[in-house]
């Protein structure tokens, strides 16, 4: 799953798969990518993931958007792998990473948060006897997903305000107001949760 990816509703086979099965398949993909050694094997897994994107009815730009957020990391690793271990190792590592990111993104794109938290609740329920509160864990994950977009919005507003005042290059002028506004948001969110009956 990816915290920055938003659910895009649909009625394809991939959308209709139960959330639990999608998570099991995601875990299986991760295990397969870890144990497969030959350079072309992750390429085959990536092919399967790409086919699933087509099955889910997503255009290429949706796929590209999933990779764009980590394009610099992929590029840096590519260069390092190419210099240190050769092209086969580079293909192996890059394709493995890309396949995993895309697979996680596909789960997020095709599964609502409610369905995901339901699965999480089922998984965590047996741990209640050890003091784990499944509902709180599920809420924590939902809030984390929601907060990513809020903090991104705050960062954009702070950046715009910085530019308007000619402080475009100052890291401090960016970090301090972002931190203050994020803390304020957290306080307001706590108050809103309490108002909506989440204090029990």
């Amino acid at each position: 799953m990816s915290l920055t990816t938003t659910y895009l509703p649909g009625n394809t086979v991939i959308h209709r798969l139960p959330a639990g099965i999608k998570l099991v398949l995601l875990a299986a993909t991760g295990v397969a990518l870890t144990v497969l050694n030959l350079w072309w094997e992750p390429v085959a897994v990536l092919g399967v993931v790409l086919a699933c994107y087509l099955l889910a009815g997503f255009p290429v730009r949706t796929l590209a958007a999933q990779l764009r957020s980590m394009s610099w990391v992929l590029l840096a690793i590519s260069v390092f792998q190419l210099v240190a271990s050769g092209w086969q190792s580079m293909v192996d590592v890059i394709v493995t990473l890309a396949a995993m990111v895309l697979a996680a993104g596909l789960v997020s794109l095709t599964t609502g948060m409610e369905a995901l938290t339901e699965v999480l609740l089922r998984i965590l329920r047996p741990f209640r006897r050890f003091g784990v509160a499944p509902e709180r864990m599920a809420l924590l994950i939902s809030l984390s997903v929601r907060s990513v977009s809020v903090i991104a919005g705050l960062a954009q507003e702070v950046r715009d305000a910085q530019r308007a005042r000619g402080l475009g290059g100052s890291a401090r002028a960016f970090a301090v107001p972002l931190l203050v506004r994020s803390l304020r948001h957290a306080e307001a969110l706590g108050e809103a949760l309490m108002a909506r009956g989440l204090d029990d």
């Binding site: 938003t6 409610e114 939902s142 809020v150 809103a192 108002a195």
Partner: protein, 230 residues
């Protein structure tokens, strides 16, 4: 209408090395269907509103909602009293529109199908049905405020408190919120700087420096407020 009684309430917040008093010996009984609250920034309106559903517990005095003391029965009071904040972004807690409306029903004993039906009806009532599966953060400001309102009202509170819900909205969206408020069955306590929203209200309280300095029908209370703002 549930009876709301505010009895001799004072409250202060930490301020520097001391404390700043924001409410001073406020007493009022609220029984009307539509109650407006107006006053300058920092006059104590928001703290007063937060007292009414137990978000703030007073330093001195008592607040009773339908006989329930907010100090001892905060959870019961919050089930009776819904609260809508100025900034909907702070109130929307789930990633999608449908999930956020359904969030308040999580702990209700109803069947999943009943909850789904209630969520769908609420989304339709607020004109959000087409956005049901959209990301909440991608809605416009007006739609976000409607979502925040829908998410509170789906739990069917007896009282709705709204703390400047139109401050961040344009005229059209502010008027849309005003129309929804006018159509509600609930008792509504509306804090606002948009004085035109209060025209048809039953009663308006004017706050100044932590005290209720005006308590009358809208026209008289607004005149009192304008006089003080000169």
């Amino acid at each position: 209408m549930p009876l709301i009684e505010v009895i001799g309430v004072s409250h202060s917040y930490p301020h520097g090395t001391g404390r700043r008093r924001v409410l001073r010996d406020v007493s009022v009984t609220l029984t009307e269907s539509r109650i407006g609250v107006i006053g300058a920034n920092g006059s104590g309106k928001s703290t007063f509103a937060r007292l009414l559903n137990g978000l703030v517990v007073p330093d001195a005095g008592r607040v009773l909602v339908d006989g329930h003391d907010t100090r001892r029965e905060g959870r019961t009071v919050r089930r009776l009293v819904g609260f809508c904040f100025t900034d909907p972004d702070a109130q929307i807690v789930m990633p999608t529109v449908r999930e956020d409306v359904g969030f308040g029903l999580r702990r209700r004993g109803a069947e999943a199908a009943q909850k789904t039906a209630l969520v769908d009806r609420t989304l339709a009532d607020f004109g959000l049905a087409d956005h049901a599966d959209h990301a909440a953060h991608l809605l416009s400001g007006g739609e976000k405020q409607l979502l925040a309102l829908a998410s509170v009202l789906v739990t069917e509170p007896a009282v709705l408190i709204m703390d400047e819900p139109t401050t961040l909205l344009d005229l059209r969206n502010a008027e849309a919120v005003g129309r929804i408020v006018a159509s509600l069955q609930q008792q509504v306590i509306l804090l606002t700087h948009h004085l035109s929203l209060l025209t048809d209200f039953d009663r308006v309280l004017v706050f100044d420096e932590g005290r209720i300095v005006g308590d009358a029908a809208p026209a008289a209370a607004i005149a009192e407020y304008r006089e003080r703002m000169r």
